[in-house]
């Protein structure tokens, strides 16, 4: 419960005057048992006049956490590891199915809907935020771009 409260408040570890990106709609799709990879999806809003970028994500209980982008090219799905995910000044970047995502690799135990995972996001301006991201079942109708 304590962890939940801390996560909900979004602790800014170092961001001083610079307004850290505002994170919302964070969720992790529940994965099949034994699945070795999952993803974090969320929206990032940059309320400042300067370009911002997500440069690193970390979560306990995983072998590795990487920034990725899924792309569809000639009917082929590719995942490309990202050094950073940019957020334009006063812009918004969505991490969503079929696009950017934080890839959680090698979970110590299966993630089940209803649980939360503390995910720490580090930004280019040096600020970082930890939030407790809920695990949810995927909606039946996939939200995909047409």
């Amino acid at each position: 419960m304590k962890r939940f409260l801390i996560g909900s408040v979004l602790i800014s570890m170092s961001g001083m005057a610079a307004a850290a990106p505002v994170i919302s709609e964070a969720w992790i799709p529940e994965q099949p048992p034994g699945a070795m990879a999952s993803a974090v999806f969320l929206d990032m809003k940059n309320t400042s006049d300067k370009p911002e970028a997500l440069v690193k994500a970390a979560a306990p209980g995983f072998k590795e956490v990487q920034l990725h982008k899924s792309i569809e090219e000639n009917g082929m799905h590719k995942m490309i590891e990202q050094k950073e995910i940019a957020i334009a000044p006063h812009g918004e970047t969505k991490l969503a199915p079929g696009g950017f995502h934080i890839m959680l690799i090698g979970p110590e135990k299966a993630l089940v809907a209803g649980e939360t995972v503390p995910v720490t996001l580090s930004f280019a301006d040096g600020s970082s935020e930890t939030l407790n991201v809920p695990v949810k079942k995927r909606p039946m109708m996939p939200m995909m771009k047409h």
Binding site: P32, P33, M36, A39, H77, M79, P97, G98, G106, M140
Partner: protein, 240 residues
């Protein structure tokens, strides 16, 4: 496009098109009239056994190639051996007595494969309702035999629908099937023993007939309602 959603209007539209094609069209029209008279639930012969007529496949025009692309001529799935959690599986015997939607991927896939398998899980009950005579089968072929055991694949696909069939095989067997079906994939370079690597892969669903021939490709993004409509029309004009 609204008028195409009405079976009658769609039928008249197609009939008019067939008439313009002369004798063949007229034959097809009379055939269509016959099957319509018999009702949609009484196809000529068993749809899960009969071979596809190449001429009817050739005559089929998709209303939206981004939803369904007929494969003409149909491409036979070669003989190959795979493993599922329930034992050995051989193509083309796997396809007998069923209409199959075939999808390739890998269980390490965090984003696209779960999305596509979720869409398939939503599509299947729709198809069972709109094409009740058809025995549907969903087959997932893992192109990642290094990491995907038959058990892992079964756990993975059964999460989306316990009726899904998951399998894999040796690289040679996988390629024997994916090459002629033009289901491309590419394993990213990694050191031996490295368990973290990605695989680029084709995301289409492939429609395979009971005689083991790929007759259509349904590319992503997958909209269950649009696919359902396209498949109903495909079955009406090509199969039943």
């Amino acid at each position: 496009m609204g008028f195409l959603q009405s079976p009658t209007a769609g039928f008249l539209f197609n009939s008019a098109r067939m008439l313009r094609r002369g004798a063949w069209g007229a034959w097809l029209l009379s055939f269509a009239l016959l099957t319509t008279a018999c009702g949609q639930n009484a196809p000529s012969g068993n749809v899960n056994e009969q071979a596809i007529a190449p001429k009817r496949l050739a005559a089929f025009e998709s209303h939206d190639l981004l939803v369904l692309r007929p494969v003409n001529p149909a491409i036979s799935v070669p003989a190959a051996d795979f493993m599922s959690v329930d034992g050995a599986i051989a193509t083309p015997a796997l396809f007998k007595d069923h209409w199959t939607l075939f999808y390739i991927g890998y269980t390490f896939c965090p984003d696209v494969c779960p999305t596509e398998l979720t869409a398939l899980a939503g599509l299947l009950p729709q198809l069972q309702k709109s094409l009740p005579d058809v025995h549907w089968q969903i087959v997932f072929l893992s192109v990642d035999p290094e990491r995907d055991t038959p058990k892992r694949i079964a756990d993975y696909v059964h999460y989306f629908d316990p009726k899904f069939l998951g399998m894999t095989g040796t690289r040679a067997m996988i390629d024997k099937v994916t090459q002629p079906l033009k289901a491309g994939y590419r394993v990213s370079p990694h050191a031996p023993g490295d368990t973290i690597y990605e695989i680029d892969h084709d995301t289409a669903y492939r429609l395979i007939s009971p005689e083991g021939k790929m007759v259509a490709i349904l590319p992503s993004p997958h909209d269950p309602a649009a696919m359902d409509q396209a498949l109903v029309r495909f079955f009406k004009e090509v199969v039943q």
